[in-house]
Structure formats: C-alpha cells, structure tokens
Amino acid sequence: MLRGLWKLTWLEIKIFLREPLGAFGTIVIPVLVFLVVGRVVGHGVPPGALAANNFLQVGLPVLASVLIAVSAVLSLVTIISIYREGGILKRLRATPLRPQTILTAHVIVKLILTAATLAVLVLAGKRYYPVGVHAPLFSFTIALLISTWSILSIGFLIASIVPTARFAQPIGAFIMYPMVAVSGLFVPVAALPPVLRIVARVVPLTYAVSLLEGIWKGEAWSAHMGDIAALVLVFVICTALSTKVFRWE
C-alpha cells in the first residue's frame, strides 16, 4: 500500500528544491517578512509600548507561521494542477502506485518544508529579531504541522476546481488570503463587524490562528481542543469532498 511512498516523497523534495523559485517562495519569503517587519516595527519602540510589543512577541511570529502554511497550500495547488495538466498524475497512476500514495507524498513534502521553514524562521529570529524568540518551540511546531495538514486539504479542494495550471496560483491566492485577513491575525475576531465575525467562524484559518497564538503564548493544549477539533473537521470534510470532485486529468 505504501510502496513507493518514501521514494516518491524524497524525489518530490529534490524536484521542489530544483525549482528556481520553489525554495525562495516558500522558505525565504516568510522569513524575510518576519525579519523586515520585525525590524521596522521594532525600530524605536519604547519598552512600554504594549501594543507594538504584543505584535512583535506574538502577532508577527504567528503571522509569519500562517504565511508558511498558506504558501505551502498555494504551492500544493500549483503543483497538483501542473501535474494534472501535464499528464504527470495520469502517468503515475498507470503504475502500481495507489492514488492516495501520490497525494500523500505531496502532503508529506509540504509538511517537511513547513517544519524546515519554521526552523529557519526561529534561527533567524534568535539572531536578528528585535525581541528574540521565547516560545515552546516543540509544541508550536506540532501546532503548525496540524494547522498546515488541515488546510492542505483545502488545497486539494481548490486544486480540484482550478481549470488550468495558469489559474492555480491566482485562484488559490484569491481564496486563501481573504481567509488570512479575517482569521483574527490583524483584528481580533471579537472586534470584527457581525457579518465578518460569522465568516471568521467558518474560516478554518481562524482556528489555526487561535491554536498557533495560544501555543506560542505558552497556553496548554487542553485549552485549544476546540481549535484542534475544528481543524480535524475541516480536514475530514475537505478530504471527503476532494475524493468526490478531484480530477486526475
């Protein structure tokens, strides 16, 4: 059943790193956003300025992490649509590889890259970030992987509806970035207008942000079981829908 999974995963990682913009887009950009915005905001902030400090200590690291997850999803959508359009998915299916194995390999690749990007972010943060990084990193990594894993299933759903590879990136971005906007990262969900508050409740990223912020601040896992349940539910619904509508060619 899992025959070929590790081989395929390893190959896909190598192939991804050979893309001229592959590593740059997914690894460098979130780290740069994190460092540059941190420098700009951090520059000349008086130690007592609570809002700015709160943003530097929690908001920005979580934003950068969400960017990592979102760019993993966009990259997945693009790759799947290119593979479908080029007949690569079809070619791989005409082997003893199970269809689930092909898709699982891509999910694993994205999770590994997410973890790697987070590691770079933390290392860069320790060195160059104005306030330093003091968070339960192991728990936070797990939280980010759970979040990414959950919203990657949205990626498969988007990949199912994207007509051609050319539209993959724009359509993906058009769906994902508004989710980031209402997810509570910039404005707390409670402070949103009533309509947007309802939207925020159904947007999976809201639960990812809540989980990531909480774990980053050092809150207990038990306080975020609701978020995790929501993320699992998103995964179950999107995966079920994907198996119905996913197109291989």
């Binding site: 025959r3 070929g4 190598k14 192939i15 593979y83 007949g87 299916r93 005409a94 082997t95 003893p96």
Partner: protein
C-alpha cells in the same frame, strides 16, 4: 488458449459524446496487436479502459485473467504502459525516474541501466526530463513501460512526433519485446507502422471496430486490385496484356501501359506474358494496395483527413 486480452461490448461515452461503441476483440499471447484509425476514433479511450485507467459504461474486459477495475493494482504490476502525451516532473532526472519505477513493482525489475543503454539514453541519465528531446522522452517512456518486464505492453501512438530514424529504432525494439514472448497492444494512426509491426490489426473509426485481421489478409479481402505499370515499344503488347487472366483494364499512354486486375497472381501472370511473348520492357513497376487503401475503401475517407 485463452486470450491475453478479452474485450466484449465495451462502450464509453463522455457526456453526450459516445467515444467507444460496443467494441469487442481478443488479443493473443505473443502477438503485436494494433488498434488503427484516425485521431479521435476512440483508440486511446479503448486502450485506457483495458489498462484500468477508465471505467467503461458497459461491457466486459479481462486482461491476463484479471478485471482491470477490481484488480487494478495486481494488473498494473504485470503490465507496462506508455501513454500518449504523458509528461514527468520537469526536473526529475532520467535515472531517478527509472529508480522510482523499479521500486514500484513487486516482481524483480529489469536492469534499468542496461535498458537505458539499449534505448540510447545512458548518456542522459543525469539529465532533467524537461531538457530531453521529444525522441528521448519517448524512449524514456518506453523504458519505463518495460521496467517491470511486463507480460503485456501497451503502447499508445508510440512513434508520433519522432524522426524516421528513431521510429525505425523503436520498431526494432517492439519486435524485440515480441521475440521475448511478450504481448504488445498498440495504437497508431500511421499505416506504415501498423503494416510493418502488427501481426493483427483492428481498424477503428467513430468508436467502432470495422474489421480485424492480419494486415495482408485485410488488404487481400478489401483491396484485391493489383496494378502493373510498364513501358514497351512492342506493337503487340497491348493485345497480349488484355489477354492475361485476371486483367480488367489496360490503359495506354504512348509507350506506357497501366495494367489493372485482381488477385495475387496478377503480377506473376504479367511477367509470364512478357517472357512468353519476348516483350522487351524498359520499365516495370507494381502498385500494391496497403492498409491505407483498405481504410479508404472501408470508410470512404482517407485516414489522414
């Protein structure tokens, strides 16, 4: 002997368009069987139903005694597939693709390096897929189709887009596959390819199989006409040619004659007539019908249209 591939009443439609209508045929062990017809005739759809990549609307298919849908993974383990217009990851290296394929099959795979050597790809083993030429990509796909030493090899339009030299090299390779006792199922819209390679062909048009037989038998059955063109100054020639058994028309333009008739013996009869009457000729050519003519005869249109 049970056939390697058995298809009966296979039908497949996409929305309102029926791509394949009630297609039935058998493919026997050790033969090269060709599905021939113009683009859009339903060849690829038929082949992909047999490979288990598509589900037909109705009909029964068995391949090596397996059901291509229920036993798709067992089947994939024993067959080799080359798809029309397939791609691989742009930046996968040739040897990485070969290594992946080797790892996918339960049976012992062929020696990948040797296969690359045979297909003239050894020098390209570290090249990315996107940097291969059309012919090299095609040869790589053929290598991948052969990697598990399959019992049945499916080749869909295997030489489309190749130059004549690569085409001949690939034909030799396909004959080698048969020589090793394997069964080959191919599609082509090139009649020359079908005539040179296939033991039996099925002519397909508009989703239906019109006839199935050995290429020679199809030609003899549907196009028994033979034409001999010769040039002579002998004044008695025309009269003598008309007397040859089987000759239907003799057309004369100055010293050139076009002799038309039916049956395999026509050419022999013409030669016999020439020697018996001591007719000296300065030119002698025969025009024999081929599968292209059979297709024209059966469908009323050229396969190239």
């Amino acid at each position: 002997m049970t056939p390697v591939i058995h298809a009966s009443g296979v039908r497949k439609s996409y929305g309102a368009t029926v791509a394949v209508h009630e297609v039935s045929f058998d493919v026997h062990e050790g033969e090269i069987f060709g599905l021939i017809g113009p683009n859009g005739a339903g060849k690829t759809t038929t082949m992909e139903c047999i490979e288990g990549l598509r589900t037909p609307d109705c009909g029964a298919i068995s391949v090596l005694g397996l059901d291509p849908f229920k036993d798709v993974y067992k089947l994939q383990d024993r067959i080799g597939v080359q798809l029309q217009q397939a791609q691989l990851q742009k930046r996968i290296k040739v040897w990485e693709a070969v290594g992946l394929w080797v790892s996918l099959y339960q049976k012992k795979a062929l020696d990948g390096e040797r296969l690359l050597e045979q297909l003239g790809l050894a020098a390209k083993r570290d090249t990315w897929f996107m940097n291969l030429s059309g012919g090299q990509k095609q040869r790589l796909f053929i290598a991948l189709a052969l990697m598990n030493d399959p019992e049945v090899v499916f080749l869909d339009e295997l030489t489309t887009g190749l130059d004549p030299q690569s085409r001949r090299a690939i034909w030799d390779l396909v004959r080698d596959i048969r020589a090793r006792g394997k069964t080959v199922f191919l599609t082509t819209h090139l009649m020359e390819e079908a005539e040179r390679l296939c033991d039996r062909v099925a002519i397909m048009e508009h989703g239906r199989i019109i006839d199935i037989d050995r290429p020679d038998d199809l030609v003899n059955r549907h196009c028994p006409e033979r034409t001999v063109i010769l040039a002579t100054d002998n004044p008695i020639a025309e009269e003598r040619f008309r007397a040859i058994p089987g000759v239907e028309t003799v057309i004369r333009t100055d010293s050139r004659f076009t002799v038309r008739g039916r049956g395999d013996d026509l050419v022999t009869e013409v030669v016999h007539c020439l020697s018996e009457n001591a007719i000296r000729v300065t030119d002698f050519r025969t025009i024999l019908p081929n599968l292209e003519d059979v297709f024209l005869k059966l469908t009323g249109r050229s396969i190239r249209e």
